[in-house]
């Protein structure tokens, strides 16, 4: 392994998201004492603010064509989903619930945005047409289902489910709505599919330290990918590069 540092900051950085062409990274930085969304071009090191409105700005997710991002803003009150062009222009509100709407993720065909919402009383996963419309609830089992990520073929969704106080990865077949657990650990977070759909990368905790781990999408193989002497959090698997 030969890690490269893309950005070093004394303040936290969360929610990294690769652009579909692999050249840019969107993320949330707290260097302004509040969450602000940036897009960072990895080759040039140039970055620009795409959302810094009054309140919090977070949870960037790229559209499959790389032209837009879904973000979560609180400029109008609670945490709600908005769409914005990749240069930060043209902000448009997508959801209007009284509660929390966050963690947007585009379906690979760009038709839907999956997200987490507490509109039903507990955090569950919903989807809404990217063009706007009514939200449809996707998860029903359990009282805490968050962080949806779709497979590249759009057929399955990995997410984090809380079971008896433990946070574990689960996968749902979106056609049959059948679900099964992929892990038996207790602090799993930030799943993301490999570009070929066969592996899921995630962060977990072993011995009080954050580690990177991977599991096959059928749950049969699990592997810890350790990094020396540091906490690892919030991995995001990059796309296939197109040259």
């Amino acid at each position: 392994m030969n890690p490269q540092t893309a950005l070093a900051s004394r303040e936290p950085i969360i929610s990294p998201a690769w652009s579909p062409d692999g050249t840019r990274l969107a993320y949330v930085s707290f260097e302004a004492k509040k969450p602000v969304v940036y897009v960072h071009s990895l080759a040039s090191g140039r970055r620009h603010v795409i959302a810094n409105f009054k309140g919090s700005n977070s949870a960037p997710a790229w559209s499959p064509d790389g032209a837009r991002l879904a973000v979560v803003l609180t400029k109008d009150g609670g945490s709600q989903l908005y769409l914005v062009h990749a240069d930060g222009s043209g902000v448009r509100r997508l959801t209007s619930s009284g509660g929390i709407d966050t963690e947007p993720f585009f379906s690979p065909d760009g038709q839907y945005i999956y997200f987490t919402s507490d509109r039903g009383g507990s955090p569950q996963i919903y989807r809404i047409p990217a063009a706007g419309g009514d939200a449809q609830r996707i998860t029903f089992e359990g009282a805490y289902n968050v962080s949806p990520r779709l497979s590249p073929d759009g057929n399955s969704m990995v997410y984090v489910a809380r079971n008896a106080g433990r946070f574990q990865l689960a996968v749902m077949n979106l056609a049959t709505r059948q679900t099964h657990l992929l892990t038996d650990s207790s602090k799993d977070e930030s799943p993301s599919f490999a570009p070929n759909g066969r592996m899921i990368l995630y962060a977990t905790e072993i011995g009080g330290r954050g580690v990177l781990a991977a599991v096959s999408s059928d749950g049969r193989f699990r592997q810890r990918l350790s990094l020396a002497a540091s906490d690892v959090r919030e991995p995001a698997w990059g796309p296939f590069m197109k040259f």
């Binding site: 004394r10 810094n52 945490s79 990368l201 592997q223 959090r233």
Partner: protein, 185 residues
Amino acid sequence: MQKLLKLSLLAIVLAIAGCKSSPSGPEQAGAGVEERSPGGEAKQVEPPAVAKVTPPAATEDSGIAALKDPKNILSKRSVFFEYDSFTVKDEFKPLIEAHAKFLVSHPQLRTLIQGNADERGSREYNLALGQKRANAVKNMLLLLGAKETQIESVSLGEEKPRNPGHDEAAWTENRRADLLYPGEF
């Protein structure tokens, strides 16, 4: 396995090694476009694109002394919340009333309310929970006469724990909203 390790080179990992917050000089809230080399200092090359930044008010104001006086209720800045709750408990109402009165009598002052959550669960969902807590305090200040333009409510989620522990005592301390005044953020 070797293949998996190679594939994992494609994965970017943000390793945030035990970062404790430390004030890092004057921050340009809402940076524009920057050149930034790994680990290097940011250099501002364009004005803010989206951000609208109100400069902090003067800190020489006599009212500010009250904010730091341990005997004054205004020096108390933290409102604590129950698990999965956004309701301001009765015991914190006098604190919020005092800050509302202070904001009404100092209409030029702004406050930043930072909401926080404990570490359990999704980071982005926790960011939204912290926002709900900050909004609860903000709404109370507004009801008591402070102006919308005086207050910004934001969330730090689980990213800046006051207590870095992993037990109930730490979580209780971290489910919190803090009121900050100019010079403090």
